[in-house]
């Protein structure tokens, strides 16, 4: 047993005495001047960006192939507690604002981490988590509302009248159901984004407790908060394009 430990220690010793390669890349430092973990988080997010791009480009392609598409101002017009009031894009603007503020809270947590301020990191991480939970709550309300109006993955009650204006099928006799893939695309893409929000919240909660336990303080740096933050900002970034594709255009 003692011999095994010896060999191991010798091996570690040897590694320390390896000469740095003189290749103009700064020796043992990486060419990107970035840690392995952060680099890999960025490349994971790049691959995730391609997944979302594939979804959104498919959405654009399918939508352009239709002779008619529901007007977002007529579909997303409800606000919790206001009943039948016509508030186009009102609720989704609130959701967007919540997600931006949640993202900002996590940026502040990263900055407090640079100053090794444990209390500050914990405080701002709570802000980020609360914002994420509020966003998911809003999305749950919106899904529930649209399902009550009859929207399904393969049934779309938002159809055109004779003038091409958007109406609910069961509210006007002359209206026929709209393009069926509207529901599948809406639930699929906002659902995939919502799932990212959910995993982001879980990771943020973990990071909060790891901070509270002093894990990063003992480690001497808060880089983990930066990596967690990158994922969280990516969720905000994707929402910009989901918002563009479904609500604005």
């Amino acid at each position: 047993m003692a011999e095994v430990v010896d060999i191991h220690e010798q091996h570690v010793e040897n590694q320390h005495h390896l000469p740095s390669p003189d290749n103009g890349e700064g020796g043992e430092k990486s060419a990107m001047n970035m840690s392995y973990g952060k680099t890999m988080m960025w490349y994971f997010l790049l691959s995730d960006a391609f997944t979302f791009s594939a979804f959104l480009i498919s959405y654009a392609c399918i939508r352009l192939a239709q002779p008619w598409w529901p007007n977002p101002n007529s579909v997303f017009k409800s606000f919790p507690g206001l009943g039948d009031a016509y508030v186009p894009l009102g609720f989704v603007s609130v959701m967007t604002f919540i997600l931006i503020l949640s993202s900002v809270a996590v940026v502040r947590a990263v900055q407090e981490g640079h100053r090794m301020n444990k209390k500050g990191v914990m405080l701002w991480m709570i802000g980020g988590i609360v914002g994420g939970v509020m966003f998911l709550g809003c999305q749950a309300w919106e899904w529930n509302h649209l399902i009550h109006e009859g929207l399904r993955p393969f049934y779309n009650p938002f159809g055109p009248d004779a003038n091409g204006l958007t109406h609910l099928v069961h509210e006007k006799m002359s209206v026929s159901p709209g393009p069926i893939l509207f529901g599948a695309l809406f639930f699929g893409i906002t659902g995939f984004h919502g799932f990212h929000v959910f995993t982001g919240i879980c990771i943020n909660i973990w990071a909060f407790f790891a901070t509270a336990n002093g894990t990063f303080e003992k480690r001497g740096h808060y880089e983990m908060i930066e990596k967690v933050g990158l994922y969280w900002h990516f969720v905000d970034l994707v929402w910009v394009f989901v918002f563009l594709a479904f609500y604005l255009m």
Partner: protein
């Protein structure tokens, strides 16, 4: 970036984040106002170009300021930006294709 910051650096970093927040909020509000106020007046092509440009601007703020990419090495920015640039081709190709199916299936 896990070094120690001076108070000066910290203050300017916090300030940069809050101004990015205000810009993001303003751009979003302008988008919604444009969609509601002139959405049915302006031609679709102008309206959608504006929305796309505003969204790309927001994306640059989030990636540059919040995700701190603006302050990383240029070489690293390129390893992310160059693969993403190919998406421009994918968007144009599939938009043209979708529009073609539309003409094919629903002749005016």
């Amino acid at each position: 970036m896990s070094g120690h910051m001076t108070d000066e650096q910290y203050k300017s970093a916090v300030k940069a984040v809050w101004s990015a927040t205000i810009i993001l909020s303003i751009v979003t509000v302008v988008e919604v106002v444009v969609a509601l106020a002139v959405g049915h007046i302006l031609p679709k092509i102008i309206l959608n170009s504006f929305f796309v440009l505003a969204s790309v601007a927001k994306a640059f703020f989030i990636v540059g300021e919040f995700m701190h990419l603006k302050y990383e090495k240029r070489a690293f920015m390129l390893t992310l930006g160059v693969p993403l640039a190919f998406l421009v081709w994918a968007i144009i190709a599939l938009a043209v294709e979708g529009h073609y199916w539309n003409i094919l299936n629903y002749p005016k």
